[in-house]
């Protein structure tokens, strides 16, 4: 019997820590210590956890533990019920290890910068960050689609909380809009899941696939197709793909920089987790892949063209982050092992790079309290080292070698050519150039043009923790750029299993 407790700890630890931190009002030192210890442990656990499955409550399938099946009637032991999963199951593999490690790393640096940039760190804010991380880890691990939905809702609430806690102008309005739109997408996703349960009699994804592949369910049944459509719709909300790209970019822009860094990581990994489930369940249907590619193309084009015309750098980053999600979707939609590996690699890279950019540009907010690029300028003189780090982050996002997104974007272009869709490769190259241009426009206006007379730069020093975070993100970008096999070797097993 494979009972790996550490798999569950990846979700339980941040939840327990979050609940405890929530109780610690005005105990600043205790909040700092507990938050930092939890944040340090989070990326370490996936590295120590062996691959395998965790069955909550010990409910393994009867076939795996014959002692449980003793005395049961032949109606159960002689049927497929014998194989089915009885309780919630979490599955941990090399790809999930990498993604949860990166999520843990981003959580650590978000917490690290938050604690050092805030004079009085709020336990409630740390609660929200850890709850979000726990939820997204659970979404990545869970093989139970109903359990996934529960954490999908908790993640949405945690994201709303992070925006509300930011104290940025109009943040309440944006948070309210996000939750209102979630009130459309969430129930529809649940309806899709319920329909799947009704059709297949299961909430376990592996069991659902079994019923679909073995002729127990008509794969072209209208109910199943509607369920697929509703699950895809919920996926769009969770990821921030169109038509939710506007609200998602607004959400990023209304959070504090460390909050935005974490929020985009939530979106990226939720997109990957639900995207993988959609491919696992419905890849028999060629229209699924066409739809994923179509939606991703729209996200890329809308995200990046909208980013160019923005004047608030947080909004620029928000739209660029949405545009980059399109690259991930293209990889998943191509449906080949190489394409999916490239998409997953792009997801890992994007999570790191966008966090790098949000925290890097966040230093401008820290020094000026301004995010409107029209009112900024001359920031290069204020802190040239941070400016260089931000420039490198922008180059990474655009896919400039030897940084990591170069490798994943190159793989995506190769995968699209191999799949007979060179047009996708051309669009990806075109949009990477425009991404570079968009970033350079923001970088020039903030850092390089003369400082406006009315711009007041605060006398506070950028915390060393923020600079350390940026340097570590750069090291991760360089490492994955120079040695992409560190990531791709972990990801290709999952990708091969999806084809």
């Amino acid at each position: 019997m494979d009972m790996n407790v550490l798999i569950a700890v990846m979700v339980i630890l941040p939840i327990a820590s979050a609940l405890f931190l929530n109780l610690l009002h005005k105990k600043d030192r205790t909040i700092k210590i507990i938050a930092i210890i939890t944040a340090i442990v989070l990326p370490i656990i996936p590295l120590l956890t062996p691959y395998g499955s965790h069955f909550f409550g010990g409910y393994v399938p009867l076939a795996q533990d014959p002692s449980l099946a003793q005395g049961l009637p032949a109606l159960i032991t002689g049927s497929q019920l014998f194989q089915f999963h009885l309780g919630i199951m979490y599955v941990f593999s090399s790809a999930k290890q990498l993604m949860i490690f990166i999520l843990g790393l981003i959580t650590f640096f978000a917490i690290f910068t938050f604690i050092n940039e805030s004079k009085r760190p709020s336990g409630v804010y740390a609660f929200l960050m850890f709850m979000g991380t726990a939820s997204v880890s659970a979404i990545l691990l869970s093989d139970d689609i109903f359990n996934l939905f529960v954490f999908f809702e908790i993640a949405a609430l945690a994201q709303v909380g992070i925006v509300i806690a930011s104290g940025i102008k109009n943040n309440y309005e944006t948070a309210l809009k996000y939750i209102l739109l979630g009130n459309i997408a969430g129930p529809l996703l649940l309806l899709g899941i319920v329909m799947l349960l009704g059709i297949t009699g299961n909430v376990n994804v592996t069991d659902m696939i079994f019923t679909l592949k073995n002729g127990y369910v008509n794969p072209q049944s209208p109910e199943l197709l509607i369920a697929l459509a509703l699950i895809v719709f919920g996926w769009l909300y969770a990821s921030g793909l169109p038509p939710f790209h506007t609200i998602k970019s607004a959400v990023y822009s209304k959070a504090l920089p460390h909050g935005s860094a974490l929020l985009q990581a939530f979106s990226v990994f939720t997109m990957v987790a639900i995207g993988i489930i959609i491919i696992r369940l419905f890849s028999y249907n060629p229209f699924t892949n066409i739809a994923i590619i179509g939606i991703s193309l729209i996200a890329m084009i809308l995200g990046i063209t909208m980013a160019i015309v923005q004047t608030d750098y947080k909004r620029i980053l928000g739209y660029l982050a949405v545009g980059e999600l399109g690259y991930i979707g293209i990889g998943l939609g191509l449906g080949t092992a190489f394409g999916i590996t490239a998409g997953l690699f792009q997801a890992v890279n994007e999570a790191v790079i966008t966090a790098f950019l949000f925290i890097g540009f966040g230093t401008i907010l820290y020094k000026t309290r301004i995010s409107d690029t029209r009112k900024l300028g001359g920031m290069m003189y204020v802190n040239p080292k941070v400016a260089l780090l931000v420039l490198l982050a922008g180059l990474a996002m655009a896919g400039v070698p030897p940084l990591n997104a170069f490798q994943s974007k190159l793989m995506l272009i190769q995968a699209s050519i191999q799949s007979g869709l060179p047009e996708l490769g051309i669009i990806m190259i075109l949009l990477s150039i425009v991404t570079f241009m968009t970033f350079m426009k923001a970088f020039y206006t903030i850092y390089m043009r003369p400082k406006p007379k009315e711009l007041e730069v605060l006398d506070n020093t950028i915390p060393r923790s923020t600079v350390i975070s940026l340097v570590v993100f750069l090291i991760v970008c360089l490492t994955l750029g120079l040695f992409p096999e560190i990531a791709t070797n972990s990801l290709q097993t999952l990708a091969a299993g999806l084809v």
Binding site: I184, I226, A250, T305, V309, L430, K441
Partner: protein, 112 residues
């Protein structure tokens, strides 16, 4: 009138309608122009993929999009106006997207 001036006038008109009184700068017009060209180029290249369904259909669609683009240009200022943070707008597009997705997945699968 050059294309640049057309873009400039269009932005001014849209800003007037939206009640914004910000000046239309060179940067605003240039970024809008870049976004416009990116949008058109990306859509045209994407439509070439219709060749997988039928080459003639692709030619018709490329021609149709070219005509639409040249008659409706500049598109980007309008697109930007539509992609705002207004909840009614967002709700509208969410409901439209839901309808399109359900229709495509349902009839698309049953009839392809």
């Amino acid at each position: 009138m050059s294309f640049y001036d057309v873009i400039l006038n269009k932005i001014r008109k849209i800003q007037e309608k939206a009640g914004e009184d910000e000046p239309v700068t060179n940067v605003t017009a240039s970024t809008m122009l870049t976004a416009e060209l990116t949008l058109i180029a990306s859509v045209l290249i994407a439509v070439v993929m219709v060749r997988l369904i039928h080459p003639v259909l692709m030619i018709i669609m490329v021609a149709a999009i070219l005509i639409i683009v040249f008659t409706a240009m500049p598109i980007m200022p309008r697109l930007r106006r539509e992609q705002n943070d207004d909840l009614n707008n967002m709700m509208f597009y969410v409901v439209v997207a839901l309808g399109v997705i359900v229709a495509l997945f349902y009839w698309g699968n049953l009839n392809v």
